[in-house]
Structure formats: C-alpha cells, structure tokens
Symmetry: C2
Subunit: 353 residues, 2 copies
C-alpha cells in the first residue's frame, strides 16, 4: 500500500535519493561502504565539496562572499553558535513561536536580547509585522517558517544590521532573494536530507567581530578554514543531503519545486477553507506552504477521521500538542498526489457527516 | 575481490550491520524508511533506548549511577563540553598526543589546565607513567588510545578526582573496570558505528557543580533529562551504532572480542618485530591493540610494498603524517584473516628483498 508521509520532520525524502543512499551503504567506493571509508579520501572530500557548492548554487549565492558549512548538532546548536559568533552587546529577535523562543533563550546566555515583536498573544498563529529593527544592535534574527504553528514569513524586513534566519523548515522550497540574508541555517531533516547535519550559509565579512574566545567547534571561521572538515563530518547525512540537493537541481531547482509546493498548498488550504468540518489555525496571510495546521470544528469526529486517514495510508498528520488538531507537512518530496489523497479523505468525511 | 580495510576511522564495520542499515533505509517501519520517520515515533524511541541500555550493559555499568547519551559533534565537541560541565577552577590533563593536546586547548578557554605529564619529547611514542594527580583539581582527563601514534594506556592511574577518559578509538575493544571512570566519551566511527554520533557515559553525581550558565545543547544534564532526545538526534548514526552494539553482544560481548583483538595484535606485532624490513614506532609496553604503527627500515622499498598491499585488497594502511610509514588499524570488525593477509604481504616483501 502506498504511503503518504505528512510527518513534520524527519520527513519524506525523494524515493530515488533513499534508493541511492541504501546502495552506497553496500558499495560506495570500490567495494567499500560509504560509512567505512576515510572522510579524508578523495571520494568523500568530493561529496563534501559538491554538497557545499550545490547549496550555494541552489540559493543563487555563488561568488557573493558566502560560505556553506555542513555541521552537526541541528538548528538547536545554531541557536548558541549564532550568539557565540555574532553577539557582542545586544541583538534583536522576532518571536514567532517555539523555535524562535529557544533561540532567544540560548542567546541570552551571552548578552542582551530584545524581542522586536512577538505573536505569543495569539498562540503564535500569525507573523508580527511593522516592527522596527534598531540600527545599533549586532544582528536581527528571525525564523522563516514555524512548523508547529504553520506560519511562514512571506517577506523579510529591510534590516540595517546583519540578517540571520533559521530556515530549517522551508529552505529550498521557494524563491527568495537569499542575498538579503547574512547568515542562514537549517537542520537537514525537512527539505534537505536525514537528521544529523545542519547547513550554515554565512557571509564571511560578518565574522570575527566579537571579543570572546570561541571554542573551535563553535567557531564558524575555524570550520570555514577547514572546508567544513575540521573534524570527522557526519558522512552519511552529508552524502544523502548532497543527493537530495542534486535531485532538486535536476528537477529544475527551487523555481520548479516552488510551483509544485504552491499547487500542494493551494489544494490543501482550499479544502480547509471550503470544508465546513475543518478550521485553519494560522492567519490566512501568514499560512505556511510547508505545514498546514487545522482542527476539526466538531471534536466528536476525531475518531472517525483518524481511522479514515490512517486507512488511506496517511501518516504523521497529528498536530503538535501546542496547537492540537492536525498538521499536514508538505515538504519538497511530498507529492501532489499525497495531498490529493488527504483532501479526498476530508471530502469523504464531509459527505459522511 | 575481498577488501581488507585497515582505515583509522571511519573504518570497517560488521557486514551484517551494514546490510541491516541498508535495508532499514528502504523499509524500517511499515514501509517507511528509517530516515523518514519521526524521531518521536515509538519505533525510533525504542532504538534510542536500546542503544543507551546496550552501551551501559556492554560496559558493565548498569545500575551504577551512570547515564548514556548519544549526541552529535564528535569527540571534538566533547573537548569543550567536558570543560563546560566540569571545569570550575583547574583540571589535570595527561598529554599523550594530538587528541589530548586538542582537548587541553579547548579546556583552556574555560579555566586553568595543568599537564600532569607529556610524551611530546619523543613524538608521543610512549605513555607517561608515575605522575601525580593533585587532589584539589576538578578532574583528571586522559586518552585511552592514541590512533595517530599507536599507543594505548594499559592501566589507568588511581585518581583522587573524577576520572574523564576519551575512549574514541578503543571503546568496546577490551575488558576494563569501567566503573573507575566518571565520564567516558567516544566518537562512534571506530568500534561503534558510522560517523555522526558520540557516546557519552557519565556518572550523574559529578554534574551540576560548576557555576557557569551552560547552553542547553552543551549541558549533559539537559540531555539526560530528555533521554538523549533534547533535539532531533542523528537517527541513522544512532540506529547503526545500536546494531553494532547488538552484534557485539551476540558475539559474547567485550570479553569475546577482546580475545580476537588480542590475536590480531599479537600476530601483527610479532611480524613487525621479526621482519627485519620493518620497525615499530610505539614503545613496546604501550603498543595499541587497535592501531599498529610501523615504518620501513629502508624507504626504498616503499613503492614495492605499497603496490603489494594494494594488490592484496588492503586499504587505509598509510600512516598519519605526524608519524609517517604505516598504520594498521585493527578495530573490532576487522577480521583476523585481514591481518593474516597483511602479514603475508610483509613476509613476501621480506622474501623478495
């Protein structure tokens, strides 16, 4: 039975990527497994270099002073690395929910933080707008997409200070002028690959400006100098991310996948809006193309609905406990067909009810 | 042609582990790939719990106040985490080479360090002995096995302060009274699994004694409280490490593999000692059972020897640039047969020369 994987992450990845990764475990280089070879071997150094250059190429950032790194620790490690590397006196954060909140908490260990705006008043169901970013701070930090609440920044403020963005859950999903950002980070486990590596794209000229002594493993400059191989990298996660980026490039890049993502999101939200049994959680103008959050108007239908979608081969649809209800995560590798299957089930529930 | 993988790490892993990991990528849980499922799903939570309990079981540390964690970042991240979590005023380090040296460098960012002894005077070809560990310091740190130089601590000093040990390259390879250690850490990519996760075994009662505010991702207590799932773990690396530990348990545990490792090391070193063309690098009494370092007495034979071992299906035999010559890494998953093949090649070179 075909599976329709709506998990919020780790999540669905392209079938051909998984197939290739599985084969590389058996024989990657002359009879040796991908995970048995030295990370200093030419074959793995090539993988790392290809991953780094594909990331810049897909985002249109080649030759613009940016470096790409594949590190370990997830976006959670970036919450503190951003502060270690960039925060001297004070920084500005936009609070759009759980992840932004955690980023703020970690940065506060190092120096002062101001929240320029927050949507906490409405359980983060919208993206605050119209706030000011003070000119004399170290950087401005925001989260482009909020998996838990299903909101997404559709545009980014003109920032007079370095613009740092956590793009963990929507990187490589839509066209943007990525050169407006000075630092982008993203855990791999949504649109990029398996859990276990994190992409960091950083404009070199913003580094080296804090006075603290930074431990080597937390220092972007150290990792840049060592071409993202300061220590043994997470070989499997980097290789599989490279395959996924190659898959995206072959498909036509971000422009091509954006059209698909747009179709999926429109279909999904139109069902949520038209079907009287369901109600969207996020404010319409801030709805995420990656994660659609919605609830049943009548909770009595929960058992029936849950049985129906499970029987249709759907998984990972339960909402996060902070929101409840349902969350349909529609990352790059989820097909339009899977969204159609979900929408049909929602339709069927309506005709039954 | 059969491969004989003497790589220093990432290195050879058990064939059946690689086979199972490859299959899990295609179908792990009800048609879904291991890397597509939620890390909060029952099937992955079970994997993590099994990995944590196998680690304690293999080391004989169950029910003795220890916790096992699988984190990201490699041993290099532990160099700073150990200091963040345990170093208040001053700590003692034993300097047995490159990795110990790096651990010292990172710890110095946080407070004072004293080197109780160092073998730098002889390019780290021996393990210093007979040093004193001051009673009033925060902890004593040592490295059990030194991959680059091929030395290994055969016994550990009675420490009046918490004993911290980097066991990256010989964990699970020999029986020891592991309860003499208060904190053990080990990057996975030798005897435990693929690169991308690091095992930390820590006695809980040594934590919580420093005054600094520790960022969440660097705080052992935070990870313990969250059962090693504070954030998305490196799913593939943890799963494959769990399989390798299960393989070792099925084999009879550390006691059984120690016998094999002993045979391999004896065969290897006896050839190095008896063959007049070769010379061992490390002091005899400190020779590592994991990494045998040796050089050619006559460098003119290098090209011939290199061609011969490559033709025999051997790879990863070149020594580290700090030592030169050759390094035969004989981790748990390397068979005695592979060592026999190498020894035969060395024999053949002797008969030719």
């Amino acid at each position: 039975m075909q599976k329709h994987n709506f998990s919020a992450g780790p999540c669905v990845l392209p079938k051909e990527v998984i197939q290739k990764a599985s084969e590389a475990l058996l024989d990657f280089d002359n009879g040796l497994s991908l995970i048995e070879i030295s990370h200093r071997s030419k074959s793995f150094v090539d993988v790392m270099e290809q991953a780094r250059s594909l990331a810049l190429e897909l985002l249109g950032l080649e030759g613009k002073g940016y470096k790409a790194l594949f590190l370990q620790g997830g976006a959670s490690m970036q919450f503190l690395m951003v502060a270690q590397n960039l925060l001297e006196k004070k920084a500005a954060y936009l609070n759009t929910g759980t992840w932004a909140d955690k980023a703020i908490k970690e940065a506060k260990i190092y120096a002062d933080i101001i929240e320029v705006a927050s949507s906490k008043d409405a359980n983060y169901n919208y993206i605050p707008k119209g706030f000011d970013i003070p000119e004399d701070l170290d950087y401005f930090h925001c989260t482009s997409n909020n998996t838990i609440f299903g909101t997404q920044m559709k545009s980014f403020p003109k920032s007079p200070i370095p613009l740092v963005c956590d793009m963990s859950s929507d990187i490589f999903s839509r066209t943007l002028d990525f050169s407006q950002f000075d630092l982008i980070y993203a855990g791999a486990q949504k649109n990029m690959g398996p859990a276990g590596t994190t992409l960091i794209i950083v404009k070199e000229d913003i580094l080296g400006k804090v006075s603290r002594k930074i431990p080597s493993m937390l220092d972007y400059k150290v990792h840049i100098d060592k071409s993202s191989m300061f220590n043994t990298p997470p070989v499997f996660a980097v290789y599989t991310s490279m395959l996924t980026m190659q898959w995206l490039k072959d498909l036509g890049g971000i422009k091509a996948i954006e059209q698909e993502n747009d179709k999926k999101a429109r279909l999904m939200y139109s069902e949520i809006d038209l079907n009287p049994l369901f109600k969207g959680f996020a404010a319409k103008e801030d709805r995420s193309d990656m994660n659609a959050t919605f609830t049943l108007v009548n909770e009595d239908l929960k058992e029936t609905f849950d049985t129906m979608w499970k029987e249709a081969g759907i998984n990972g649809l339960s909402g996060h406990r902070s929101v409840g209800g349902y969350r349909a995560s529609m990352y790059n590798a989820l097909s339009l067909d899977s969204v159609k299957v979900l929408v049909e089930v929602m339709n069927e529930l309506e005709s039954k009810a």
